[in-house]
């Protein structure tokens, strides 16, 4: 089972929930950081890194001696990564999405695969918890290509070790967030009961509902703000799987890099219950019942 921990609004506690769940999970589990722009899971799991590699994507390289400047490549490219005018061809590798269209369409076979560095993928272990993370190169604009490579490695690792994975997703509801959750089995939406938290939670619910995956809510800093989030969840039939109280002691523990499930028996019990609720939500029978409800 792959559990994606997502939000909408940033700073609501995705990493806190992902790290806590990973540490109390029963059975083999991998903590996966797909917030490649700002990966933070390592700051709480403190993994021993066993290996890393640079990730690249294929971008066009032109052999100008073969080019006849016919313009087929630039006409096809939707991302302005290839430009042909008069007797000049220019490649803008940072604009390339890696579709391979220019290489496939060039009648002279003048375009060959080159590379753009996306960032680094690293992996290791934190005690019983496996660890995998992507880290976007500074200046790289697109995170989905690196996320796809991290997910490919996740599939390989799960094929070897078996078990479950908990994905720490990036904030927001656009392409990076959707990419992080679209291959999961369950989506956990973490929010706080403030007006910003609720507004972005609704956006996230709208963005992820078409994926047709079981979803549940975790309310962090419960007691802050107002009750709008509870009304929204009730209206949409979205189960609230856990509540973490608004407590300055929790915020301080987080500021020291602590995993909050380890703070008190009460908080540990909250996450153990959350784990069981997630397993229950992932059962196919449950989603069938929901569909009939």
């Amino acid at each position: 089972m792959i559990v994606a921990v997502a939000s909408g609004k940033g700073g609501t506690g995705k990493t806190t929930v992902a790290a806590s769940l990973a540490t109390i999970w029963d059975g083999p589990v991998l903590g996966v950081d797909l917030d490649v722009e700002e990966p933070n899971l390592n700051l709480f799991l403190h993994p021993v890194i066993a290996g890393s590699e640079m990730a690249h994507m294929t971008v066009p390289m032109v052999e100008e001696a073969k080019c006849t400047y016919c313009g087929a490549c630039s006409e096809l490219c939707q991302f302005k990564a290839v430009s042909v005018f008069n007797q000049v061809i220019l490649i803008f590798p940072e604009m390339c999405h890696g579709c391979g269209g220019c290489m496939a369409i060039c009648p002279e076979k003048a375009i060959s695969p080159g590379q753009r560095e996306l960032g680094e993928i690293s992996w290791g272990r934190a005690g019983d918890v496996g660890f995998l993370s992507g880290r976007l190169r500074i200046g790289e604009a697109m995170s989905p290509p690196l996320m796809r490579r991290v997910k490919a490695r996740l599939d390989q690792m799960l094929a070897v070790t078996g078990g479950d994975a908990i994905i720490d997703a990036p904030p927001g509801v656009s392409c990076p967030a959707v990419n992080a959750v679209m291959d999961s089995d369950v989506i956990l939406l973490v929010t706080e009961p403030t007006p910003f938290g609720v507004y972005d939670f609704k956006l996230a619910w709208e963005a992820f509902t078409p994926l047709g995956k079981p979803m549940g809510a975790v309310i962090n800093r419960a007691g802050l703000g107002n009750d709008a989030i509870y009304r929204f969840c009730r209206e949409k039939g979205l189960p609230i799987l856990a509540e973490i109280p608004y407590d300055r002691a929790i915020a301080e523990a987080y500021s020291r890099g602590r995993v909050i499930a380890a703070l008190s028996p009460g908080l540990e019990a909250t996450f153990v219950t959350l784990r069981d609720e997630i397993r229950d939500l992932a059962k196919p029978s449950r989603s069938r019942e929901a569909a009939h409800a």
């Binding site: 909408g8 940033g10 700073g11 700002e38 933070n40 579709c99 500074i138 300055r248």
Partner: protein
């Protein structure tokens, strides 16, 4: 004209709450919400929309079932795994489609349409603090970087037309395409951070991004009293890298209290928080060369 962008790296450090307060404190300005993905500034400013425009960006592939002969060439060419055979024929998954047109160009029976993708809306509104240029990307849509550029262009034109000497922008979290787009042409970036391992780490990454694009950066430490050691580490980092620290703001439920009422924190009775924030704004004006 000056352009100031509030960013953070890490989400939830207080960007939007502070941008709202600065919008209250700043004189002639155009306000601009560049977090087009999950915009929240309008919740504080309650804008009255005066103009609404549709945002189209790129295209998406759609297979016409009757024309498709099921050869599967499109699925084998697609680098994004967006085309699958679902039993009844080949279909494009709009969530995975990047709009690259490769399938359209190579389909032997011309069975793939390529309509424009409607990605969101943008607005020009009036608020109690002045004009607001903002947008809403449809949930799950892409190309927020391009929408950021559209908003900035609108805000600049509006500033010119109204003789405003400042465009004040609320940015997105992270260091990817919307943030990179929002830095272009900015005179000053203000990073809001918090004294936590994530806050400090993400500040370091967003600072590296500003260096990469040669944008001047200043820092505000929010919730500074949560962890004195982390606050000290952030201050050492800023000192070593020559980033001015504009303010240390206390961890105060006042910010949420204001938000729940649809107000910015400087509209509540005066507090340590609002005094410190007022000083921060004066420093920002000086750094950005405003009012000269």
């Amino acid at each position: 004209m000056r352009e100031i962008i509030i960013i953070s790296g890490k989400g939830g450090t207080g960007k939007t709450s502070l941008t709202g307060a600065f919008a209250h404190l700043a004189a002639d300005k155009i306000i601009c919400d560049l977090d087009v993905d999950a915009p929240d500034l309008h919740l504080l400013l309650q804008p009255a929309k005066e103009r609404q425009e549709e945002f189209y960006s790129g295209h998406e592939a759609v297979i016409i079932g009757e024309k498709c002969d099921g050869c599967g060439l499109c699925a084998s060419l697609c680098q994004f795994g967006a085309i699958k055979e679902n039993g009844a024929g080949f279909v494009v998954d709009p969530v995975r489609c990047e709009g690259c047109k490769v399938c359209v160009a190579f389909c032997p029976t011309a069975a793939i349409r390529f309509p424009e993708r409607h990605c969101g809306q943008w607005y020009v509104s009036s608020t109690r603090f002045g004009p607001l240029v903002h947008a809403q990307l449809f949930p799950g849509a892409e190309n927020s970087g391009r929408l950021v550029m559209v908003l900035k262009q609108q805000a600049r034109e509006l500033a010119k037309a109204r003789g405003a000497d400042l465009v004040l922008c609320d940015g997105a979290p992270g260091i990817g395409c919307p943030v990179i787009s929002s830095l272009s042409g900015a005179n000053l970036a203000v990073a809001v951070t918090e004294p936590t391992p994530s806050g400090r780490h993400d500040l370091e990454r967003v600072a590296a991004l500003c260096r990469h694009f040669q944008t001047a950066l200043a820092v505000i430490i929010n919730k500074y009293d949560l962890n004195g050691d982390e606050t000290a580490r952030i201050e050492v980092f800023c000192h070593d890298e020559n980033y001015p620290v504009l303010a240390r703001l206390p961890h105060d439920p006042l910010v949420t209290k204001a938000m729940v009422q649809g107000l910015v924190v400087t509209e509540l009775p005066e507090s340590d928080f609002s005094r410190e924030l007022g000083q921060a704004w004066s420093r920002i004006e000086a750094l950005a060369g405003l009012g000269r």
